[in-house]
């Protein structure tokens, strides 16, 4: 039977070894260049967090020695860690790229965001400010650092993901995405979200940070911080998140795995002071990135999906 190939000796190959990071990087650079080629007015979400810092390095590689063909945009909830905001501003200045900051507090003043209490989590409210910023500038493609491994609802997200004129995601009616032939076409008022590091995991991100020797905000590394234990999470003690009655404040060596809105982001106990030590801890970790750190995702089985439908990152 000749139709089925027999076992052959491996072909002699002079092609040098390529690690999974090389492959992931090449794919992400390709995606960024496709956005620049297809999108009329793209923008890149940049928070100063590790995933968006990886995106900036990938954009440097995609467009070197030219400038980025898009500005950077951050939605400030007003509840961000100051170390991360300082880092954000410093990195944007080093690169000489334009950084646009829009704040949830402006949306609150306009009345488009209404919260029950001033200290309520503003994490979900970011979606409103984000969509306002996209409309204000007329962006038609928004590049983000979301990854499919983060959460179940994201496992089915496209690399180029369509958002309707209300900024909404319809997970049951997504455009089929074949090969690397991305469909970036939208009508006026609609946009696509583009996720160049869709195929990366938390471990890949840290391995890349280590390989590229990327600087990241200090709170990603172990530091001593007052925390309380609540529902299996460590809650940082801050002005926004004071201890509740009966809770005991402890000072522990912790690090943040994600650095979102203070009101819903929790650190993990850690002694890791370098990317390599974080990689070692990540390999042994028994809890997912968001499971260990995000109060907002524990609300229900579908909380991320609901936020995403509403226009969240």
């Amino acid at each position: 039977m000749t139709a089925i190939a027999s076992v052959r000796a491996p072909e002699p190959s002079s092609i040098p070894a390529r690690s999974h990071l090389d492959w992931l990087e090449s794919e992400a650079v390709y995606i960024l260049r496709e956005v620049a080629g297809e999108g009329v007015k793209p923008v890149l979400f940049f928070s100063g967090g590790k995933d968006s810092l990886v995106l900036l390095r990938l954009a440097e590689k995609a467009f070197h020695p030219g400038r980025f063909p898009f500005p950077l945009l951050h939605i400030d909830t007003g509840h961000n860690f100051k170390e991360v905001l300082e880092f954000r501003d410093r990195r944007a200045a080093e690169l000489g790229e334009r950084l646009i900051v829009r704040s949830v507090e402006d949306s609150m003043r306009r009345g488009s965001v209404r919260l029950r209490a001033a200290n309520d989590s503003r994490n979900a409210a970011q979606s409103v400010t984000l969509l306002e910023a996209i409309a204000e500038h007329g962006f038609d493609a928004a590049i983000g650092g979301a990854r499919r491994d983060e959460e179940k609802a994201r496992a089915k997200e496209r690399v180029f993901s369509f958002r309707d004129e209300f900024g909404q995601w319809d997970p049951r009616n997504q455009r089929p995405e074949l090969w690397s032939l991305y469909n970036a076409r939208v009508n006026s008022g609609e946009h696509v979200r583009v996720f160049p590091i869709s195929n990366w995991t938390e471990l890949d991100v840290w391995q890349y940070i280590a390989r590229e020797q990327l600087q990241v905000p200090s709170i990603y590394f172990a530091h001593r911080r007052p925390v309380v234990r609540r529902k299996g999470l460590l809650v940082p003690v801050t002005d926004l998140t004071p201890p509740r009655r009966g809770e005991r404040v402890e000072e522990l060596s912790v690090r943040f795995r994600t650095v979102g809105d203070i009101s819903c982001t929790c650190p993990v106990e850690s002694g890791a002071g370098t990317p390599d030590e974080i990689i070692a801890e990540t390999v042994l970790s028994r809890v997912t990135e968001r499971g260990a750190t995000r109060m907002d995702d524990q609300t229900s089985e579908v909380s991320m999906e609901r936020r995403k439908k509403e226009g969240y990152f």
């Binding site: 390709y30 049951r172 809890v287």
Partner: protein, 431 residues
């Protein structure tokens, strides 16, 4: 005939020995109740990829729905609607890694929108894992899975003969399923594809990651060992150089540079190239990867090229091997997987995206439609509906530069986009 299952345990080169083996993309296909979700759950679980909070979440959800056992399929059902209906409705991407490789799984549902989803998952995969039920043999669905992996040009197919525990781990049962698949594959494939057969019990964990001790008569590799050793770039070194230009950088350290990802072959400094559609020839002056200047680059790498001559080149053009240029035509014969609810009609006009180039196209003739139930060709009497596979001829507004899909999965593939709705309506493979 031979297949890896019968030879000595595969001792292929380590993960660093060839072009892209640090990573393998594979797709999984199985009929309803073949135990596909259990198999994926087993792969993730036994390679220690499932986290405690994920396990706790599916325990809670299994309990809520009245299951006494852990329902591993919940790991792969990501959307609210899927969990409510207990079915998978879309392709999900999952990740795991071993010390040898990182894996990306495109997990495709077995029934709903079956052709469309499986084609999507297969389009980016280098290997397919097809589930067969040892107690049922080769069913119609299994034939369709083989057919679609064939259509999408997947060269490595692993048939995981599952539920061996239900047939008493019988060697005869395994051989019979294998024989049925081989017979059918022989009928289907004129081209060279590699088949691997492995007897497994996803439920009990035999031959997936661990060998177990219940299948002593099988001396071949486990499923994971196969996945770790398959060389996805096998044969790719023979491909001609193709470089679709994504962007042109007019100013910079190297003068004018062309940005893109090498679709196939190799490119070296000094190599003679032809630029299409202009037909102008030149030589490669430089290969740039950020701060590094290279002498050679390989398929899959994102690079910047500069040429010795000033040539007018823009996005959508191709820089290719001067000695082995692609075909050029203003009319394409192609196999279409129809994806949209609105049917395909003769005379339909679409946008065709091929590499980095988008042109207008018109479907002028539908030669025949393949019945995915029987795999018989029938004349296209009526409109072509979602999940149909059709052979069609398209006229293009401008010439395209392409290769046959079976020779080149990048320059032989295209999508059709509806100009009004902007929906992706078809996947095309050039004959």
């Amino acid at each position: 005939m031979s297949y890896l299952g019968d030879i000595e345990r595969n001792t292929a080169a380590p993960a660093t020995a060839n072009g892209s083996s640090g990573l393998l993309r594979f797709t999984t296909a199985g009929s309803v109740d073949d135990g596909k979700s259990t198999l994926i759950g087993r792969l993730l679980h036994d390679t220690r990829q499932i986290f405690e909070d994920q396990l706790a979440a599916i325990e809670r959800a299994s309990h809520k729905r009245g299951f006494s056992d852990l329902d591993l399929s919940l790991l792969t059902d990501g959307l609210e609607a899927e969990r409510e209906q207990g079915i998978t409705i879309d392709v999900a991407y999952r990740y795991f890694a071993t010390p040898r490789r990182k894996f990306i799984i495109a997990d495709t549902p077995g029934h709903v929108q079956y052709t469309r989803n499986m084609a999507t998952g297969a389009s980016t995969a280098e290997t397919a894992v097809i589930l067969a039920d040892a107690s049922k043999g080769l069913l119609e669905q299994g034939k369709r899975h083989l057919y679609i992996t064939h259509l999408l040009g997947i060269r490595h197919v692993i048939v995981a003969v599952n539920k061996m525990d239900l047939v008493g781990y019988s060697q005869v049962a395994f051989a019979s399923v294998r024989h049925a698949f081989e017979q059918f594959a022989h009928r289907l494939d004129g081209e060279k594809r590699r088949f691997y057969f492995v007897p497994v019990s996803a439920l009990k964990g035999d031959m997936v990651v661990e060998r177990g001790d219940r299948i002593p008569w099988y001396g071949g590799p486990t499923l994971l060992e196969l996945l770790e050793s398959i060389d996805p770039s096998e044969g790719n070194g023979l491909q001609a150089m193709r470089f679709p230009v994504q962007l042109v950088q007019r100013a910079g350290g190297h003068g004018r540079a062309y940005l893109g990802r090498l679709a196939s072959g190799e490119v070296s400094v000094g190599q003679k190239v032809v630029v299409l559609p202009s037909g102008r020839t030149s030589t490669v002056k430089g290969i740039h990867a950020w701060h590094e200047d290279r002498m050679t680059a390989y398929a899959g790498e994102s690079i910047a090229l500069s040429l010795s001559d000033e040539i007018d080149i823009s996005r959508g053009d191709q820089i290719t091997d001067a000695n082995r240029p692609p075909r050029a035509a203003q009319s394409l014969s192609a196999t279409l997987v129809w994806l949209a609810v609105e049917p395909l009609q003769v005379g339909g006009r679409y946008l065709l995206k091929h590499t980095s180039r988008t042109v207008k196209a018109k479907v002028v003739w539908i030669k025949h439609v393949v019945d995915v139930e029987t795999l018989e060709k029938r004349p296209a009497s009526g409109p072509v509906a979602a999940n149909d596979i059709a052979h069609a001829v398209l006229d293009l507004q401008q010439p395209a530069f392409f290769d046959s899909y079976h020779l080149n999965r990048t320059t032989g593939a295209f999508i059709l986009i509806d100009e009004l709705s902007n929906q992706t309506v078809a996947a095309g493979m050039i004959v």
